[in-house]
C-alpha cells in the first residue's frame, strides 16, 4: 500500500469545507457571486464606468482594420486625373508651402509628380471613385462613409501610428481599445473585451514594425490592454494545458485551488482572494470559449468562399476578418487587425497590388457577412492607416512604377456600420492630393467619431494622469464628424 493511502484514509474522517468531492466549479461560484449573476438574453455590460455610455450608442462594438505603413490614397481612393498632365513635373512650391518633409526625401533635388498608374471608376449609387486595385471594396461603397481628408501632425511611422492608436506620439498612453474596454466594460464574460490580430502581409518582407503599445493600456490598468489572438501556438498566450494535463486533471487542480482559496478568504476576508477565485474560473472557461471561437470548421462553404481562398490559411488577413466576425457575434467589444506592409517608398506597382489583394475581398466579405447577419447595424467598422503618401515621387519615376514618401496632410479613412451614414464621401483635397480643400478631419476627430458611435462623449471619458484629465483625443477641441454620422 502506498504510504499516501493511510493519509487519505485518515483524511476522509475529517471534514473539509463543504466536505464533498464535488467540483466547486461554476455552480458554487454562482452562489458565491450570486448577486451579480444573471440569466441569458441580451448581454449586459460588466465592468465599465458608471454613467457610460453617455448616450444611447448606435454601435455596441467595433472592428478596426488598420493598414499599417500609410496606404497610398492617390492610388486607392483619391482620384486625381489632372495629374496625368503633370507627369515628372515639379510639385509647385505654392502647393507644398514649405511643408516639412521626412529626411528621406527632404534632400531630393526635385519633387516630380507621379500620377497614379491605376484606373479609377465611379461605383455604387454614391458614385464613389475607387481604383481598380480595390474591386471588392468598390462593391460596398454604398455601405461606407469615406473621409478623404484625415490629417495628422506626425510624419514618421512610429510616432504617427502611436498617435492614431493612443492619441499621443509618445509611448505611455492607453490605446483606443483599452479606452473602450475601460469605459464600456465587456459584453462577453468568456472572452477578452479587446482582441488584436497581426496577420501576415504580401509586400516586401521589411514591413514597418508594430509595437505592443498600439494595443497597450498605457496608464490604465493592464486588464484593459488588447489580447493578441495568435495564428500559431496558443491562440491566447498560455491557454493550453501543459502536455499530459487533460481537462479533467486541470479541473481537479482548479478545484483544489478554488477550495483552498475559499478557505483563505474565510480566514483573511481579502476581497482580492474572492476576485481571484472568479478569475481562475474564467480562465478555465476561456480554455473552451477561445478554441470554440477560432475553430472555423463549422463555417459553411459559401461563407468561406465569401472571404476568399486566403481564409484557409491561418494568420491571413482573410482569416482574421472571419474571426473578427465571429468575435462580433460573441459581442467582443473591440477587435483590431493590424495589417502591415503599406509603406511603399518604392515599387508601388509591385507591392501595392499585393497588399490590396490581401485585404480587399476579405474586407468586402466582412461587411457583407456582418450585414447579412444583422450585425452591421450595431457594429462599427473602420479602415485606414496612420498617414497618406506624397503625390511626388520618391526614388525612380516612370509611368509604370514609382515610390511615394509619407504625407500627413490628407489621407483616407472609411467607416461603416453602426452610427455611420452609408454611401457618402466626406472632404475634398486639392488636385495634388496634397492639401485639404474642404472639411479637414484631424485624427483626434476620427477617434472622437469612433467613441461617439459607441455612445461616448470623448470629452468626458478621461482618467487622471500626470495631473491631467487625460483623454484619447487630447487637450485641444475636437469633434465627432457629424457629416458622416447617421
Amino acid at each position: 500500500m502506498h504510504p499516501f493511502e493511510d493519509l487519505a484514509a485518515a483524511m476522509t474522517r475529517r471534514h473539509f469545507l463543504a466536505g464533498s468531492g464535488l467540483s466547486l466549479g461554476s455552480a458554487a461560484l454562482a452562489s458565491l457571486l450570486g448577486s451579480q449573476a444573471h440569466a441569458g438574453g441580451s448581454p449586459r455590460p460588466s465592468g465599465g464606468l458608471p454613467g457610460l455610455p453617455h448616450f444611447a450608442p448606435k454601435a455596441k462594438r467595433a472592428i478596426y482594420l488598420h493598414m499599417n505603413g500609410g496606404p497610398s490614397q492617390i492610388d486607392l481612393f483619391d482620384y486625381k486625373p489632372k495629374m496625368n498632365d503633370w507627369f515628372d513635373k515639379d510639385l509647385p512650391e505654392s502647393v507644398r508651402k514649405g511643408q516639412r518633409l521626412t529626411t528621406m526625401t527632404s534632400g531630393q533635388s526635385r519633387f516630380p509628380i507621379a500620377p497614379s498608374k491605376y484606373k479609377f471608376a465611379r461605383h455604387g449609387k454614391a458614385g464613389t471613385w475607387v481604383s481598380e486595385l480595390l474591386p471588392w471594396t468598390a462593391r460596398i461603397v454604398d455601405e461606407i462613409a469615406l473621409v478623404k481628408t484625415v490629417w495628422t501632425e506626425a510624419i514618421n511611422h512610429d510616432p504617427a501610428v502611436t498617435y492614431i492608436c493612443t492619441g499621443n506620439q509618445l509611448p505611455g498612453r492607453p490605446s483606443l481599445g483599452s479606452w473602450l474596454s475601460y469605459g464600456l466594460g465587456s459584453l462577453n464574460e468568456n472572452l477578452p473585451a479587446f482582441v488584436v490580430m497581426t496577420p501576415s502581409w504580401s509586400s516586401k518582407v521589411d514591413a514597418q514594425a508594430l509595437y505592443n503599445r498600439l494595443w497597450g493600456s498605457g496608464c490604465l490598468p493592464t486588464q484593459y490592454q488588447g489580447v493578441a489572438l495568435r495564428a500559431k501556438g496558443d491562440p491566447v498566450l498560455f491557454l493550453s494545458n501543459p502536455g499530459g494535463v487533460d481537462a479533467q486533471a486541470r479541473r481537479r487542480v482548479l478545484d483544489a485551488v478554488s477550495r483552498l482559496n475559499h478557505h483563505e478568504f474565510e480566514t483573511l476576508a481579502d476581497p482580492e482572494t474572492q476576485a481571484r477565485i472568479a478569475q481562475y474560473e474564467m480562465a478555465f472557461r476561456m480554455q473552451t470559449s477561445v478554441p470554440e471561437l477560432t475553430d472555423i470548421s463549422n463555417e459553411p462553404r459559401h461563407i468561406l468562399e465569401l472571404y476568399g481562398p486566403d481564409v484557409h490559411r491561418p494568420g491571413s488577413f482573410a482569416r482574421s476578418c472571419l474571426l473578427a466576425r465571429r468575435l462580433a457575434e460573441r459581442n467582443v467589444r473591440f477587435t483590431q487587425i493590424f495589417h502591415r506592409g503599406w509603406d511603399q517608398h518604392g515599387n508601388m506597382a509591385g507591392d501595392l497590388p499585393a497588399q490590396c489583394k490581401d485585404v480587399d475581398q476579405a474586407t468586402y466579405a466582412l461587411i457583407v457577412d456582418l450585414r447579412q447577419r444583422g450585425l452591421l447595424d450595431d457594429t462599427l467598422v473602420i479602415w485606414g492607416g496612420e498617414f497618406g503618401r506624397t503625390i511626388y515621387c520618391q526614388g525612380k519615376l516612370t509611368r509604370d512604377n514609382y515610390g511615394r514618401d509619407h504625407h500627413p496632410k490628407c489621407f483616407p479613412i472609411w467607416m461603416a456600420g453602426g452610427g455611420i451614414k452609408p454611401g457618402i464621401v466626406h472632404g475634398e483635397t486639392d488636385d495634388f492630393s496634397y492639401n485639404v480643400v474642404s472639411n479637414p478631419v484631424h485624427i483626434h476627430d476620427v477617434n472622437a467619431t469612433i467613441l461617439h458611435c459607441l455612445g461616448i462623449d470623448h470629452r468626458r471619458l478621461s482618467v487622471k494622469f500626470q495631473g491631467l484629465d487625460l483623454r484619447l483625443t487630447g487637450v485641444e477641441e475636437h469633434h465627432p464628424v457629424k457629416a458622416i454620422l447617421a
Binding site: A8, M11, F16, L17, L29, A30, A37, H38, S46, T102, T103, N156, D158, L170, P171, G172, E189, N190, L191, P192, A207, A209, Y211, N212, G216, L220, P221, T222, Y224, A228, K232, G233, L237, F238, P242, G243, G244, V245, D246, A249, R252, V253, D255, A256, V257, L260, H263, E264, L268, A269, D270, E272, Q274, R276, Q279, Y280, A283, M286, Q466, G467
Partner: protein, 1041 residues
C-alpha cells in the same frame, strides 16, 4: 450559465482603486468634529474643479479670478463682488455660484464636465464660515518634523511612526490589528526586503529565536543580503524606464545593463540617497569622476530613442530632452512638469518658461539625437570587467615591448643604411612599373596550371629581370595561373597592365594570352596572334585582341591599358594567368604601371616611398608623420626627416623592411588583439556635456521643436527654493539643489515611494504627482516626519527601510474584519497589515526559488528565458536585431532572477507584462495590481512555472521525509513558509490521491508531465508535479500576506 462579471475587471477593491484619486482618502464622518482643513479638503476641490480657468495659467484665466492664491480669492472682482469673504458665506460669490440652481450661473459650468458633490459644496460653505483659513499648497512648503501626536493606547507601537498611525486610527474610532503570526511576518519581510520567499531554514531560525529583538535581527540579516539590492533596484528601474532595447521603430538592442548593475550595487552598498541622485544626474560633472559615477548618469539616457528613416534630427532631439525633463519631474520632484511644455501649468505654479529653463539644464548632451540603431549610442562609457582590465594591461605591455624592439632594430638599420646615402630624387608622385610577378607568384597566391610553374635562369635561358623567368611550353592550349594572391593589385586612374615575354624563335606559339582574376571571376582577357583560345565572349573584354605576336627572339613588353579591359579605378586584381597555344615562351616581370601605391609594396629609395605616401595621403602613417609628409622637403627639420626615414626603413624599404617584417607583424597582431579586447568590453550609455558654450535653449511655442520663441537660460522655478549659494548652474547644481535641506519635495517624494513599496499604497497615493491635482497625504505629519528624519540621518535608505518594516504598523495582521472593511476599505488608515499580490518578478523568482532552480549570480548582460514563439516576430521590423527571439539555454541563464530578464520594450516579456510590469517605454513610479484570467492561465500553464512545479515535487520527494504526509507538508511549507492547517492538509491530500488515481491509468500523459529524468514512477511524480502546480497557484502563495 452566465455570470455578470467584468471579464477583465477585478472584483472589489482592485477596480475601485482606480477611480479618480482625490476623493479617495478616508474622510471623517458626517459629524465632522474638526475644523475644515484647507490643504487636505478645500484646495483639492478648488484644484480639481476651478483651477483650469481660475488657476496659475494667465492666458486661460476667466473673469480675472484666481483661486490658487489667497490674494486672488479675496480680491475684489470687476463686479465689485469677492469670491471669498472670510466668515461670510452668503457674501461670497464662490459659495453662491457653486450652490446656484441657475444653469447659467452654476460653477463649475456644465461644459467643463465637472460637477461638485453636495458634501463638497457644504464643505466650501463651512470653510468660508470658519474664516476661510488659507495655506499654501502643502507640498511646496518644506517639511517640518512635528512631535509624534499623543495617543490613548500607550502600549501599542514601537516607533514614532506608529504614533502617527495610531493617532489617526483613534480619531477614526479604529484600533490597530494584532501583530501577524511569525510565519506570515518572516515571509512578508523577506519578500519585501529581498524579493524572494524565506527558505524553510530561514523560517525555522526565526521561529526558534525567541529572544527579544528576533525580528529586528532577521531584518538586519535581510538588509545585508545581496538579494536586497536586486530587489530594490527593480522599483528604481521602473522609474528610470530601463530597458534592453531602444524602444522605438527598429527597437534594436541597447547595451545598458552596466547601469542596471550600478543601481543594484548602489542599493547593496547603501549609498546615501542624495549621492545616489547626484551621481545619476551629474556624475560626469563631479571632480575626477569615477567610472561608476559615469555609469550612474545612464539614468538620463534610459529614455526611448529612434533612428527611423525620415526622422528630423531636431524633432527627435527635443523629444529626448523632454523625456529627461518629464522623468526628472515625476521621479524626483513628484511634479507633472510635462504639462508646462505647451502652456503654463493649469494647476501648479509651473510656468511654461520654468519648463524650458529646466529643459536648459539637460540641453547640452555630447552625442547625436538619433541612436543610429546602435547598441552603443554615444556618449557611452566602456565598463571593463576585472578580467577585461587584466587582459588589456597585458596587451598594452606587449605592444609597448614590441614598439621598443622595433625602435632599437630601426636604429641599427639606420646606422647601416644612412640617410645621407639616399639618392636625390623628386618627391612628386610619378607613374612607374610595379612588378607583381618576378621569380615567384605574389604572396598568398596558389600557383597552378597544366603543369608546375617552372622558373628558369641564366645563362641557359633568357631572363628579363631578377633571377629567373617562367618557361611555358604548350601543346594546344596550356596555362599557368593563380587566383588567391593576398598581396593584390589595385587599379588606379590611367593605369596599364604589363608583362614581358620572350617568344622562342624556333617554336613560337600560335597565340599568347593574359588573363586576370577579379571579384567577378576570370572575366578579363587579352591575346596576341591567332584567335585559337575560345574562352569568353569574343571581341569583348572577355577576349580582347591586342595585335600580332611580338617579335621573336627578344624580350618584348606587352602593355594593356586598364580602361580597355573596363577595369575601373579601384578594381582589384588577385589572380593572373599566362596562357598560350602551342610553342614555347618565357614570361617575366609582370605587373601594373601605376602611381597608385600597392598593398605590401616595397620601395627602392626613400624618395620613392615618399612619392607613394604622398599619393595615398600618408596611408598607414601616424598623424604627426602625415603632417611632416605634407611639408615641403626643405621645410622639414632633421628630426622630422629622421622620423619619416625610420618609418620607411621599417615598413617601406625593399632592402630593410623584410628584416623588420616579423616584428611589425607581431605589433600589428598585438594592436588588433588590443582592439578586439576593446570591442568586447561592455559599454553603457552615459550623459556627458559638450565642450564649449552650452547649447542655447529656447521657449518652444506649443512645445513644437520648430517654433522657437525667446532664448532661456538655466533656472529653477520661482515657487521652489533657489539654487544653493555657490552651486554651479548646471546639472550638478540642479542635483545639489534637489538634495538641499530646504527642498520641499525630494525627500517627501522618495519617502513616499518607499512607503508605497512596503505598504502597497503611498501616504500620497499619487506617487507621481504631489501637485494640486495629486492626492493630499493621508498622514501629512507622518510623511513630513519621515522625510525630515530621512534627510537628517544622511539619506540612509537602509535605515529608513528598517524604520518602516520594524514598525508595529507594518507588522499588523492583514486579516480583514467587517468593521475595518467598512471604515478603512482600502487600508489607507493602515488599520491592518498590508497584503497584496506579488509583482511579476517576485512571482517568477519565488517559483524558481522554492523549486530549487534559482541561479543567484549577480549582474551581467540580460538573459532570455523561454517565451512562447512569435511574440517578437508579430511586431518586429525584419531589419531589427531584435526581430527574432532566441531563448537562452542552460540554468545559468534561464533561471536567473527576473531583474536580469531581457526587456524588449515594444514586446516586453509576457511573464512580466501580464502581471502589470510596465513596458519601460516611459517612467512609471507606481504599478497597478490587476487580477485577470490571463494571469491564471500563465501561472497554470507557462513553461517555467510548470518546470517549477516539477522542481517543487522533486524537492518534496528528496527533502520532505519518507511519508506522503511529510512530503506534502514540506511542499506547502516551501511555498508558503508555514504548515498547512488540517483542512488544508486534507484538501491537498485528497487532491494528491485523485491525481494519483488519474495518472495511474495514463502513463503516457504522466511521462509528459513528469518530464525527462523524473525520479521514481512517472505516474507518481506526475501527480506530485500537478500538486506543485496547484500549490504555486494558491492565493496565499501568489500573495504576500
Amino acid at each position: 450559465m452566465a455570470l455578470g462579471l467584468a471579464f477583465w475587471v477585478a472584483l472589489g477593491l482592485a477596480s475601485a482603486g482606480h477611480r479618480p484619486a482625490v476623493a479617495d482618502p478616508p474622510r471623517p464622518g458626517a459629524s465632522h468634529p474638526r475644523p475644515v482643513d484647507f490643504a487636505r479638503e478645500i484646495r483639492p476641490i478648488l484644484a480639481e474643479n476651478c483651477f483650469a480657468c481660475h488657476g496659475p495659467d494667465d492666458r486661460a484665466r476667466k473673469a480675472k479670478l484666481r483661486l490658487d492664491v489667497k490674494e486672488g480669492a479675496l480680491a475684489a472682482l470687476g463686479s465689485g463682488d469677492r469670491a471669498v469673504v472670510p466668515g461670510k458665506p452668503d457674501d461670497s460669490t464662490l459659495v453662491f455660484r457653486v450652490e446656484s440652481d441657475d444653469a447659467e450661473l452654476l460653477m463649475p459650468p456644465k461644459a467643463s464636465g465637472k460637477q461638485l458633490a453636495p458634501d463638497q459644496k457644504a464643505l466650501l460653505r463651512r470653510w468660508v464660515s470658519e474664516g476661510a483659513k488659507w495655506s499654501s499648497h502643502w507640498a511646496f512648503d518644506p517639511p517640518r518634523k512635528a512631535d509624534p501626536p499623543a495617543v490613548k493606547n500607550a502600549t501599542w507601537g514601537r516607533s514614532p511612526l506608529d504614533r502617527f498611525i495610531l493617532a489617526r486610527l483613534e480619531a477614526e474610532g479604529l484600533s490597530p490589528s494584532p501583530e501577524a503570526d511569525r510565519e506570515t511576518l518572516i515571509r512578508r519581510v523577506t519578500f519585501d526586503l529581498t524579493g524572494l520567499p524565506p527558505t524553510i531554514e530561514d523560517v525555522d531560525r526565526f521561529l526558534a529565536d525567541r529572544a527579544p529583538g528576533a525580528y529586528e535581527r532577521a531584518v538586519d540579516r535581510l538588509l545585508e543580503s545581496p538579494r536586497y539590492g536586486e530587489h530594490m533596484a527593480r522599483y528604481w528601474l521602473d522609474a528610470a524606464r530601463y530597458g534592453d532595447t531602444h524602444g522605438l521603430h527598429l527597437d534594436n538592442y541597447r547595451e545598458m545593463w552596466p547601469y542596471r548593475d550600478w543601481v543594484v550595487r548602489a542599493f547593496n552598498r547603501n549609498q546615501p540617497f542624495d549621492r545616489f541622485l547626484i551621481e545619476q544626474l551629474a556624475g560626469d560633472l563631479l571632480p575626477n569622476p569615477t567610472l561608476d559615477q559615469l555609469v550612474a548618469t545612464g539614468f538620463n539616457r534610459c529614455h526611448v530613442s529612434t533612428s527611423e528613416g525620415g526622422s528630423i534630427e531636431e524633432e527627435v532631439y527635443v523629444r529626448n530632452v523632454v523625456d529627461q525633463v518629464d522623468t526628472n519631474g515625476t521621479v524626483l520632484l513628484g511634479l507633472t512638469t510635462g504639462c508646462a511644455r505647451c502652456h503654463d501649468h493649469k494647476y501648479d505654479p509651473i510656468r511654461m518658461k520654468d519648463y524650458y529653463q529646466l529643459f536648459a539644464f539637460f540641453n547640452n548632451i555630447d552625442g547625436p539625437a538619433l541612436d543610429g540603431n546602435s547598441a552603443k549610442w554615444a556618449p557611452i562609457a566602456a565598463v571593463p570587467t576585472i578580467k577585461d582590465r587584466l587582459a588589456i594591461v597585458a596587451a598594452d605591455a606587449e605592444i609597448a615591448a614590441l614598439k621598443r624592439t622595433l625602435e632599437d632594430e630601426t636604429a641599427k638599420l639606420a646606422a647601416r643604411a644612412p640617410l645621407a646615402a639616399e639618392p636625390a630624387e623628386s618627391e612628386i608622385p610619378a607613374r612607374a612599373d610595379y612588378v607583381w610577378i618576378d621569380d615567384a607568384a605574389p604572396r598568398g597566391a596558389n600557383p597552378q596550371g597544366d603543369s608546375p610553374w617552372q622558373f628558369v635562369s641564366r645563362p641557359d635561358y633568357p631572363v628579363k629581370s631578377g633571377s629567373g623567368a617562367l618557361k611555358l611550353t604548350a601543346q594546344g592550349r596550356m596555362q599557368r595561373f593563380f587566383e588567391t594572391a593576398a598581396a593584390k593589385l589595385v587599379i588606379g586612374e590611367g593605369d596599364a597592365l604589363f608583362a614581358h615575354v620572350y617568344i622562342d624563335p624556333i617554336h613560337p606559339p600560335k597565340e599568347i594570352m593574359l588573363q586576370w582574376h577579379t571579384r567577378e571571376g576570370w572575366m578579363r582577357r587579352a591575346y596576341w596572334g591567332e584567335n585559337r583560345i575560345d574562352w569568353g565572349k569574343d571581341q569583348s573584354v572577355e577576349r580582347l585582341r591586342m595585335g600580332d605576336l611580338p617579335p621573336t627572339g627578344e624580350w618584348a613588353r606587352l602593355e594593356i591599358p586598364c580602361a580597355r579591359l573596363a577595369l575601373a579605378p579601384g578594381s582589384v586584381i588577385d589572380g593572373w594567368a599566362f596562357t598560350q597555344f602551342d610553342g614555347t615562351a618565357y614570361w617575366d616581370a609582370a605587373g601594373l604601371r601605376t602611381w597608385t601605391p600597392q598593398p605590401e609594396q616595397k620601395y627602392a629609395s626613400f624618395a620613392a616611398w615618399i612619392r607613394a605616401r604622398k599619393a595615398d595621403k600618408g596611408a598607414g602613417l601616424s598623424d604627426p608623420d602625415k603632417a611632416i609628409l605634407a611639408l615641403e622637403r626643405s621645410k622639414r627639420t632633421a628630426d622630422q626627416v629622421r622620423s619619416l626615414y625610420a618609418q620607411y626603413l621599417r615598413t617601406g624599404s625593399a632592402k630593410t623592411a623584410a628584416a623588420l617584417e616579423p616584428i611589425v607583424a607581431k605589433l600589428k597582431a598585438a594592436e588588433a588583439k588590443r582592439k578586439a579586447l576593446d570591442d568586447q568590453v561592455a559599454t553603457t550609455l552615459v550623459f556627458r556635456e559638450r565642450s564649449g558654450e552650452p547649447k542655447q535653449a529656447y521657449m518652444l511655442k506649443r512645445g513644437e521643436y520648430d517654433q522657437r520663441g525667446d532664448k532661456v537660460g538655466r533656472a529653477i522655478p520661482a515657487f521652489l527654493p533657489p539654487l544653493p549659494a555657490g552651486a554651479p548652474v548646471n546639472r550638478l547644481g540642479f542635483a545639489e539643489w534637489l538634495t538641499a535641506p530646504n527642498h520641499p519635495l525630494t525627500a517627501r517624494v522618495a519617502v513616499n515611494r518607499l512607503w508605497q513599496q512596503f505598504f502597497g499604497v503611498g501616504l500620497v497615493k499619487t506617487a507621481e504627482d504631489f501637485g494640486a491635482q495629486g492626492e493630499p497625504p493621508s498622514h501629512p505629519e507622518l510623511l513630513d516626519f519621515l522625510a525630515v528624519d530621512f534627510r537628517e540621518h544622511g539619506w540612509n535608505i537602509k535605515r529608513l527601510v528598517r524604520t518602516l518594516v520594524t514598525s508595529a504598523a507594518y507588522r499588523q495582521s492583514a486579516k480583514i474584519t467587517p468593521e475595518r472593511l467598512a471604515k478603512d476599505p482600502a487600508n489607507r488608515l493602515v488599520s491592518r497589515g498590508p497584503r497584496f499580490r506579488l509583482d511579476a518578478e517576485m512571482l517568477r523568482d519565488q517559483a524558481l526559488a522554492v523549486s530549487g532552480l534559482l541561479v543567484e549570480s549577480v549582474g551581467g548582460p540580460s538573459v532570455k528565458p523561454p517565451q512562447p514563439p512569435g511574440l517578437w516576430e508579430a511586431v518586429g521590423y525584419s531589419g531589427s536585431n531584435t526581430a527574432h527571439f532566441q531563448p537562452d539555454a542552460g540554468p545559468a541563464k534561464v533561471h536567473r532572477r527576473s531583474v536580469y530578464t531581457f526587456w524588449k520594450r515594444t514586446a516586453p516579456p509576457p511573464q512580466m507584462s501580464t502581471f502589470d510590469a510596465p513596458s519601460r517605454e516611459s517612467c512609471q513610479v507606481r504599478r497597478e495590481r490587476t487580477n485577470t484570467p490571463l494571469q491564471a492561465l500563465l501561472l497554470l500553464n507557462e513553461e517555467q512555472y510548470m518546470e517549477a512545479a516539477r522542481g517543487l515535487a522533486r524537492r518534496a520527494w528528496a527533502e520532505g521525509g519518507s511519508t506522503a504526509e511529510d512530503r506534502l507538508v514540506y511542499m506547502f511549507r516551501l511555498a508558503t513558509g508555514r504548515r498547512p492547517d488540517s483542512s488544508e492538509a486534507t484538501e491537498l491530500g485528497r487532491t494528491l490521491r485523485d491525481l494519483l488515481d488519474h495518472y495511474r491509468t495514463r502513463s503516457a500523459e504522466a511521462r509528459q508531465v513528469a518530464g525527462e529524468g523524473s525520479p521514481g514512477d512517472p505516474c507518481n511524480f506526475a501527480a506530485w508535479t500537478l500538486l506543485g502546480n496547484a500549490v504555486l497557484n494558491l492565493d496565499c502563495v501568489i500573495t504576500r500576506g
